[in-house]
């Protein structure tokens, strides 16, 4: 088997091995796999991926706003396994209002700033985060610019 095929086989094996009730969907596009996980089970799934399947490296945490669809936000995690050189994308829909998902700071220290950025630009709360403040924008800023209903020109821009 080629190294690409081995990687794909490993990721497929990992997805099969995840707790059955936690996974609600899976997607594959351009040789990259994504699993959609229920947000209540996120902590459990991530811990299994880190400790059991060797995905020790959390590359990135971000979100996508699908306004006006409901549920609106999707939080996206990219994980890397150094031993297998495998990439896995974990996604979860944010169903609650105000939007919130469990924080991954207990599993990875790097999640701290990523989640603060997500909070700052999307207004998604991360439960259990030790220091959830704005990170890029000033403390006094109103609104969350990466939301789709936030105008690119800024909120107080008058075209006339």
């Amino acid at each position: 088997m080629s190294s690409e095929a081995l990687k794909t086989a490993y990721v497929e094996e990992v997805i099969e091995g995840l707790p059955a009730g936690a996974v609600t969907g899976r997607e594959s596009f351009r040789d990259q796999w994504a699993v959609v996980v229920r947000s209540e089970a996120l902590g459990e799934v991530m811990e299994a991926l880190r400790d059991r399947w060797g995905f020790r490296y959390l590359i990135d945490v971000t979100a996508v706003d699908f306004h006006p669809r409901s549920p609106r936000f999707q939080v996206v995690y990219h994980l890397w396994c150094h031993e297998r050189n495998a990439l896995l994308r974990v996604k979860t829909w944010v169903e609650s209002d105000p939007p919130s998902v469990p924080s991954m700071t207990a599993l990875w220290a790097t999640a701290n700033w990523h989640e603060r950025e997500c909070f700052d630009l999307f207004g998604i709360h991360f439960d259990g985060h030790p220091d959830l403040r704005r990170i890029l924008l000033p403390e006094s800023w109103e609104g969350h610019p990466l939301r789709k209903d936030y105008p690119t020109e800024g909120p107080d821009w008058d075209v006339d």
């Binding site: 596009f29 020790r56 490296y57 996206v76 990219h78 701290n112 700033w113 690119t152």
Partner: protein
């Protein structure tokens, strides 16, 4: 004594010569020892991710230069590869090789700038004059091939902007041939310099577990002995065809990271020489009128090319619906682009995972319990650019 000491809160930055841009670090001091250290970022936030959502894919490209302005081409490369993955296309071999050459030149140029400022921050002024001598040559080479020095924007979705001018490959070869000799100038000034060793050895030690926990990448991870290099672990642009070493350190301190970056510059020069030796001839962009711009001379002389150019400018390219993540080894670490496409000519969402943002987070961890003077060494050793942190 301990109870009588009052804590002093000190703002380092946002305007401070050794913070490499507008970084503010709030430090709590007990005497000269840092008790608490809190980086405050965002002064250079330009909302690049938001801007990209209202631009066509080609229009996004010049924005990526500005993410890490010391390594413009490295950012271009990350973005064009992500879009190409989304489109499912492969660029012609000549474009691939030219990309490797320019990307590795960018790595040398970025590392030279890092070495200059890092040494300068720690009181060694002379290396700056030597490294800028070489960096200037690289800037001239970027200008010759792309027209821009800091913002070359030479790579295009589907290939490169134009073929290289006459004599350019010889000039690059000459640079790479003489470069290892010139690196001896820097090494004689620093590697065995007792002051340099005192300021860097044992400072900011990171263990393997800390590197993994903090998601560190690039020379910062490799200094701690983790051979994590995207070029080797998840090859792109045909890096698996090149013979190069991924240098790693043993102690994970500032000195080891210095040695790692020096060796990386030598390896980059080796890669460029190999690429020049095997540089294929042929097309420099994919032959697909819905993706690549036609050559400029055809736009002025052929009606089909003019229409093709017009359509690409007006409507842009339309990748299929889907999402990709593509990472590359930028000079400062792992640079990732996560692009979500809804099938329209504008990206639905672009997330730029920059190495500086992630690596800077470990600063508090490294600085707490150490002297204030070490903070300057630590900011230097992470090798951040604030534009890269804030986007």
């Amino acid at each position: 004594m301990g109870e009588l000491t009052e804590r002093l809160i000190l703002n380092v930055g946002p305007q401070h010569p050794s913070t490499h841009g507008v970084l503010r670090v709030v430090v709590e001091l007990e005497g000269e020892v840092i008790v608490r250290c809190r980086p405050d970022i965002g002064y250079l936030h330009r909302g690049i991710e938001k801007l990209m959502e209202s631009k066509t894919y080609h229009q996004c490209l010049p924005l990526t230069d500005r993410i890490d302005y010391l390594a413009g081409s490295a950012n271009n490369l990350g973005f064009v590869l992500a879009v190409e993955k989304l489109l499912g296309i492969e660029v012609p071999p000549r474009a691939r090789y030219l990309r490797v050459i320019v990307a590795e030149m960018t790595r040398i140029s970025s590392h030279l700038f890092w070495l200059a400022t890092h040494a300068h921050d720690l009181g060694a002024m002379t290396p700056l004059f030597y490294t800028f001598r070489e960096r200037e040559q690289l800037m001239d080479l970027f200008e010759a091939v792309a027209g821009g020095r800091l913002f070359p924007c030479y790579f295009r979705i589907g290939g490169v902007a134009r073929d290289v001018p006459n004599g350019w490959t010889e000039a690059v070869r000459e640079f790479c041939r003489t470069f290892p000799e010139k690196m001896k100038d820097y090494e004689t000034l620093l590697t065995k310099n007792p002051i340099w060793i005192k300021r860097t050895k044992g400072v900011g030690v990171l263990t393997v577990d800390e590197v993994l926990d903090y998601g560190l990448s690039g020379p910062v991870a490799r200094g701690s002995g983790i051979a994590w290099d995207v070029r080797r672990s998840d090859p792109y642009c045909g890096y698996e065809e090149f013979d190069f070493i991924v240098p790693t350190g043993e102690n994970g301190d500032t000195y080891d990271r210095y040695l790692v970056r020096l060796e990386e510059m030598r390896q980059s020069a080796r890669i460029i020489l190999q690429a020049l030796d095997r540089l294929p001839s042929g097309d420099i962009a994919v032959d697909d009128p819905t993706i690549a711009y036609p050559p400029k001379v055809d736009v002025f002389t052929k009606i089909e090319s003019l229409i093709q150019h017009f359509l690409l400018v007006e409507e842009g390219i339309r990748p299929p619906k889907g999402e990709v993540f593509h990472h590359t080894e930028a000079p400062k670490g792992e640079l990732g682009f996560y692009i979500v496409s809804d099938g329209s000519s504008h990206p639905f969402r672009v997330k730029v995972r920059t190495p500086s943002f992630v690596n800077l987070q470990v600063l508090s961890k490294m600085a707490e319990g150490r002297l204030l003077a070490d903070l300057i060494a630590l900011i230097g050793t992470i090798d951040i650019v604030l534009a890269d942190v804030d986007r």
